[in-house]
């Protein structure tokens, strides 16, 4: 199998398999959560908290000021790599072309040098989070194999994409194939690691916001 075969496989059957596992895994995870159910709360709720669960889904993205000051590294790097990752994913011209070819939807791209810079910033932020995870006693104690795996599969697509664009290490065809394979790895691993938080955090925040609102507190 040469580089071109690998690229063709990764763009064809490989992508299909990865998306299949991703979708199956996510549906399974959601089933695992909701099938546990919960008891109805018989304590009369305070009034005025309607819709609080939905609100908390979004408000929890903004930290309380005092808390920001207490965990500046986590907040700053966290914001940077999340936003950076999504800008690169959604605003690089070849990515938009791909999305258009699949769904027909498209939107204006950002200039490639800008996305390139954002990719570098994202990689740096991810490296800082990894160092912080290893060096800081709290993060080190909490971390499991899954945390390092999730970090690796998030880091690789950005790194290989950057390398493909700059023709680093391997020739473009092989690097592009590796880039696509790294995305497929991310998709396959996604449902079985903490990466599920991208979806489940909305469930958690809803439960949290609803719980607090019943007690008359905006969380």
């Amino acid at each position: 199998m040469n580089a071109m075969d690998l690229l063709l496989w990764s763009r064809g059957p490989g992508l299909g398999i990865a998306i299949g596992i991703f979708l199956f895994g996510m549906v399974l995870r959601l089933f695992e959560i909701y099938s546990l159910g919960r008891k109805r709360d018989l304590a009369p709720a305070r009034t005025g908290g309607e819709g609080s669960g939905w609100r908390t889904m979004f408000t929890r993205s903004v930290p309380d000021r005092a808390q920001f000051k207490r965990s500046p590294v986590v907040f700053t790097t966290g914001y940077i790599f999340h936003i950076g990752f999504f800008i690169v994913l959604l605003f690089l011209l070849p990515h938009i072309e791909l999305i258009r070819s699949i769904s027909g939807l498209s939107w204006p791209a950002l200039p490639t040098p800008v996305v390139d810079l954002i990719a570098v910033i994202t990689l740096i932020a991810l490296i800082v989070t990894l160092i912080y995870r290893i060096m800081d006693p709290v993060r080190r104690l909490l971390s499991t194999f899954g945390d390092y795996l999730a970090w690796t599969v998030t880091f690789l697509p950005v790194l290989t994409g950057y390398m493909a664009y700059h023709h680093l290490l391997f020739d473009y065809t092989l690097m592009l194939a590796l880039h696509i394979l790294s995305v497929e790895l991310l998709l396959v691993v996604f449902p079985f690691t903490k990466l599920t938080h991208m979806v489940t955090l909305f469930i958690s925040r809803w439960y949290n916001g609803e719980w607090f609102a019943r007690k008359g507190v905006a969380s």
């Binding site: 399974l28 995870r29 695992e32 959560i33 909701y34 099938s35 546990l36 159910g37 919960r38 008891k39 709360d41 018989l42 304590a43 009369p44 305070r46 908390t56 889904m57 929890r60 993205s61 930290p63 309380d64 005092a66 808390q67 207490r70 965990s71 986590v74 907040f75 966290g78 995870r133 800081d136 006693p137 709290v138 993060r139 080190r140 104690l141 909490l142 971390s143 499991t144 945390d147 079985f192 903490k194 599920t196 938080h197 489940t200 955090l201 469930i203 958690s204 925040r205 809803w206 439960y207 949290n208 916001g209 719980w211 607090f212 019943r214 007690k215 008359g216 507190v217 905006a218 969380s219």
Partner: protein, 423 residues
Amino acid sequence: MTASLQKGINALREVLDAPIASYFSSCVRCGMCAEACLFYTETKDPKYTPIHKVEPLRRLWEQEYTLTGRVKKMFGLSKPVTDEELEEWSPLVYDSCSQCGRCSMVCPVGNDITYMIRKMREGMAISGHAPEGVIGATKRTIELGSPMGIKLPALQTQISKQEAETGLTIPIDVQGADYMALLSSMEIINFPEYLGALAKIFHNAGVSWTLSSEAFEATNSGIQIGVADLARDIVMRIVTAAEKLKVKSVISPECGHAFTALRWEGPNLIGRPYGFKVVHILELLDELRSAGKLKTTGKESEALTYHDPCQIARRGGVVEQPRRLLGDVAADFREMSDPGVWNWCCGGGGGVSANDRAEHLRLTAFKRKKAQLDALGVETMVTACANCRIVLEEGLEHYNMNVKVVGLTELVAEHLVEQEAGK
């Protein structure tokens, strides 16, 4: 596996629900909850990171309720929950968590970690890993009626004293009264003035109220230790007494966990709504104030602050009421840093103050409150929880701080415009 461990694991399975599954699925191990917890901030010991305190519960969930966990278990790749591990976790679950709920406000993915620690205690207690002090308090509540072992005669003595002090009758077992008041043992033993304050305020406001000789104790050690059956029995005493006296409402006293137990957990413990309403004393005072039935005169001139009891503010939604009441009786009220729902715990809630093993840690955690008070520089701190009050007083004494702690209801009663006799 021992029978007690099996029971504990079963209890943990029982508490796992969709919210907890979503919380564990969402946790990214960012560790921000550590900075929200005074047991971490004052010790810098990573084991006090809130989410770490429920690690055995997380593993049990993963191993039994997720596909990946089951596969790992099948290949022997996961560590089962053992008695040794639960014993090691006992100080984390009981000594270093006051159920204050601050981590639940901070978690960026929205995990209600406090809810999980509360649920984890169900498995800890039944498998024999609850601390002695909390077991003792629970036993006394079940056998004698109160965690401090106070029986009716002790209450009657305090009633007589307060009646003599105020010149008012303190009603007991009055059928059809509007309100049935409850007390915490701390109030009966240490702060009986609370009872006198109620008598004065209610007399002036024309509130019909009563105590019950069958259920006067509001605190619920069953909640703190995490045994739902016992918690239910303790709540049921109050429900039975209140429904027998046919009162419209039950007043939860100046005690944080009593309010949580009675107002929020109670109906779920007994499996039905009550035939009466539950109000916290501060909610009632604020209602009376709004209705013009609580008239005060004169204001405290010295600077004072208010310590929000966690279960009343963050976990109970009573935040503005104490501030409105204080506005009437204090000329120089100063807000602490992180007020209201962001308050820092006294360090002794959730059964921590009943747990001798936790004393050193609790006093260390008190450095948070000390720092807040030092920054503010006031010499009077008002609060509305008898447990906070005792814990605060012990902390202040330990650090030789010259700060006086006052109960809000008593402070309001001191400034009451007294009705003329015979009116």
